[in-house]
Amino acid sequence: MTEWRYWLAEQRGTLLAIGIFVAMFLIYATNHPAGFSANMVQTASNKATLLAFVAMAQAIVVITAGIDLSVGMILTLTNCLASWIVVGTATETALGVIGVLGTGVLCGMINGAIVIFGRLQPIVTTIATGAMYYGVALMLRPNPGGSVNETLADALTGRLFGVVPTSLVALAAAALLIWVPYSRSVIGRAAFATGSSEVAAYMSGAPIRAAKFAAYTLAGLLSAIGGLFLTFFSYTGEAAYASGNAYTLFSIAAVVLGGVSLMGGRGSAIGAIFGALAFRTIGDLLFVFDFDPLWQPLFQGIVLMLAVSIGAFGLVRVRNRLEWFG
């Protein structure tokens, strides 16, 4: 096998996610009443960015064979917090942003510490901490309200040079500045190793605990970036329970669409981003084809099922039945 075929095998899940997204987006763009325009791309990307941040967060945890069911609630909490503190002068706003991101990091660190030192299952831990984070969010914003520095908000949800949506640039920057260094660091590789086989990783002397801790912490940070952008789009804070939970569940769907194995050890946050973009496009497709919005959940489910099945096609050709379970 030549070099590029190894590369292809490594990136298979991510490439598949990009392919699914491009195909869906082309269908969407060519059928859009206004045609393919900078405006349309801006609207589409603003809608998809939030889920993309949360999906990146989820992917980083899922790679360690964990799961973070609190990502949606961290997003909600940081949204409520941002509607209080990301206001005022440039300095006050900057401190506010740091405060919001710091809160996300803290939430992630709490998750990580409980999973590692409490030796609790990630699924139970993050359900519990997610409920706690939501509780704090509710205290911050019993009723929807608050405000945000609108100059900053408009700058980050608008377009750069009149063409590229700023939210997309922020997403790319997060991928480039957080995911790429992380995945190529010793800690990041230990995260993959832990997800693939924790015992083998331990026996090999890989820093398992540091890797898990870093994964949950980064997940908190990325969820908080999502929360910040939610505030920029909505100009308000709202402790919305249903929407927080929806982000958590959709993040798992996006991660699977993005070719990240729920068993851990395989996938990338880049794939998860495209998984999120593709998942959001499903909803938009219905809009351009003039379907009743009532159809959306059913349709989303069917498309998700089909997309996930693509990954299973390889199993149809299997000649040794034991490979079904590998």
């Binding site: 096998m1 070099e3 190894y6 590369w7 095998a9 490594e10 260094p181 190529r184 660091s185 010793v186 590789r189 230990a190 993959f192 190793a193 997800g195 693939s196 086989s197 015992v199 083998a200 990783a201 331990y202 026996m203 090999s204 002397g205 890989a206 194995s261 050890g265 395989r266 299997v318 000649r319 040794n320 039945r321 034991l322």
Partner: protein, 513 residues
């Protein structure tokens, strides 16, 4: 014996797990430039000693010194850094990472905080070459490599850590004969470079070829250390089991043809290019061995018979009737009565966290359930009977299987399938990594099952086992049966030469009267 100061010395090491004493004031000296073989039954304390040496567990009492300094390791990473590296029997490779990533998992070269992939690749290629496995691509994922290649990666990984003491724990059990030869060359070279090697194996001829010193462990203590070649195999085995060693294999009865059709017959069985034109008959009461080098299609043949493989060609006949076996469920049905005792007991044979009771029940629910409900009393009766029959050493059938020793785990795998009262038993290397005592029990069990009317097909990588246990041996080469050996024809020489697909040069023997 050896005058020089030892590189490593353990004194008075003890380790208890609950009430069980795994290691009882054991001592050991390791010298540079020598290969030191550690012998003993499973449960003799070998694995515990090694776990202490590489920091997986901490000793309850005793001291270890390395190069004259006392050492205590917080974990495998610390021991590796100090220069003690172990290649474990249970592989420590990470399936979803590439070969190069795996080789340098603990200390990857970095630049600006990120892993320097180019340097990593160069070091990995170098390590693979030193391990004699230069044909493995450093970018290949470990999960895509066969077991024997993974073991070579494991050796390369150990070498990349520049160890002073290299411990090999059953490291050759998964290797093909060609790889074993390569590994032995590597080990001898490392010895000449001044490394100390600890070599743990159940294969006596490997120890004879490699070792300079031998230490025998029994019941958690070192019983004896002697220079290799100063004791006969029988003497060594006596030391290991603490009693006189005789009748390792039960007698083979003379089977008279009874005119009945064979219990299992294959006619021109094929599967792609992995199995080619395989024909043989297996009668009730007979034990047929499958020999040959590892990976010549033996495993595929067993899977094909058990209905795991798709699109096989040729015919399978049970009691003279043609049958289509399309799944393990069909294979184990009463009509066919097949059982396959798998090779990898950890993944295919057992559900480790579940109890002995649940494991034994898993393949035999039909035996004690009515209308989909389990008859608890009948289940318990059958399970108690089976535990007694096979002499599984467990405090209670409700203990998790993972708490049992390797030999007893393998007995549970066998017992699980015997619950179904199979008429044809397929075994895939059932004694790999198992101690002498348990091996003997398994041989006796197989012969007893055959005497009671079972037909047995036994794949084994151990020549002694094929010679001692089997009425006939089919030697496979490249997916086909290269040669069939019967009775006195089954010799080590004949097995090896036909496994390598060469003539043994002996004149053709007249078939036994």
């Amino acid at each position: 014996m050896i005058a020089a100061e030892p590189l490593f010395r353990a004194a008075g090491l003890s380790k208890r797990y609950g009430g069980v004493i795994a290691l009882d004031r054991a001592d050991l000296e390791v010298h540079p430039g020598r290969i030191h073989a550690i012998l003993g039954e499973n449960g003799a304390g070998k694995s515990t000693l090694i776990k202490l040496m590489v920091g997986v567990v901490a000793p309850d009492e005793g001291r270890m010194t390395l190069e004259g300094r006392e050492v205590a390791f917080a974990g495998p990473a610390a021991a590796n850094d100090a220069g003690i590296v172990c290649i474990f029997q249970e592989l420590s490779l990470i399936p979803d990472l590439s070969v190069a990533d795996n080789i340098l998992i603990s200390h990857p070269p970095t630049r600006l905080g990120m892993i320097d992939r180019r340097t990593q690749r160069r070091i990995a290629e170098e390590a693979l070459r030193r391990a004699g496995a230069g044909d493995i691509h450093p970018r290949a994922l470990v999960r895509d490599l066969p077991l024997s290649r993974r073991q070579m990666v494991e050796i390369a990984k150990a070498l990349a850590r520049q160890p002073k003491i290299l411990i090999l724990d059953e490291a050759t059990s998964a290797l093909t004969a060609a790889d074993v030869t390569k590994v032995f060359e590597v080990l001898k070279r490392l010895r000449s470079e001044g490394l100390a090697l600890l070599y743990i194996s159940h294969r006596m001829h490997e120890i004879a070829e490699l070792a300079d010193d031998c230490s025998v462990f029994r019941n958690g203590r070192r019983i004896s250390t002697f220079a290799a070649g100063t004791k006969t195999d029988a003497e060594v085995i006596e030391l290991m089991i603490g009693r006189e060693y005789k009748h390792a294999f039960p007698d083979k009865p003379v089977r008279k043809p009874d005119g009945r059709p064979p219990a299992l017959q294959c006619k021109a069985l094929g599967w792609g290019d992995r199995l080619r034109d395989i024909s043989f008959s297996l009668h009730a009461g007979e034990i047929i061995g499958l020999g040959g080098l590892d990976g010549q299609g033996q495993r595929e043949l067993l899977l094909a018979l058990f209905g795991v493989l798709r699109d096989t060609s040729g015919d399978i006949l049970i009691d003279g009737d043609k049958v289509a076996i399309d799944s393990p469920v069909t294979a184990k049905s009463d009509r066919i009565g097949l059982a396959l005792i798998p090779e990898d007991r950890k993944t295919e044979g057992l559900m480790l966290p579940m109890s002995v009771r649940d494991n034994l029940s898993a393949a035999a629910f039909d035996r004690f359930s009515r209308l989909g409900l389990i008859d608890r009393q009948r289940q318990s009766a059958l399970i108690d009977e089976m535990i007694r029959l096979i002499e599984i050493k467990t405090a209670s059938p409700d203990l998790p299987v993972s708490a049992l020793s390797g030999g007893n785990q393998q007995k549970v795998v066998i017992a699980k399938w015997l619950m179904n009262r199979p008429r044809i038993i397929l075994l895939n290397d059932p004694t790999r990594g198992i101690d002498v005592g348990t091996k003997q029990e398994i041989y006796r069990l197989l012969r007893r099952l055959a005497d009671e009317g079972a037909a047995i097909l036994l794949y084994s990588t151990d020549y002694d086992e094929l010679i001692g246990c089997c009425d006939r041996v089919l030697v496979m080469y490249d997916g086909a049966v290269r040669r069939e050996l019967t009775g006195a024809e089954i010799t080590e020489r004949a097995l090896v030469s036909s496994a390598l697909n060469v003539d043994d040069g002996e004149p053709a023997k007249a078939s036994a009267p």
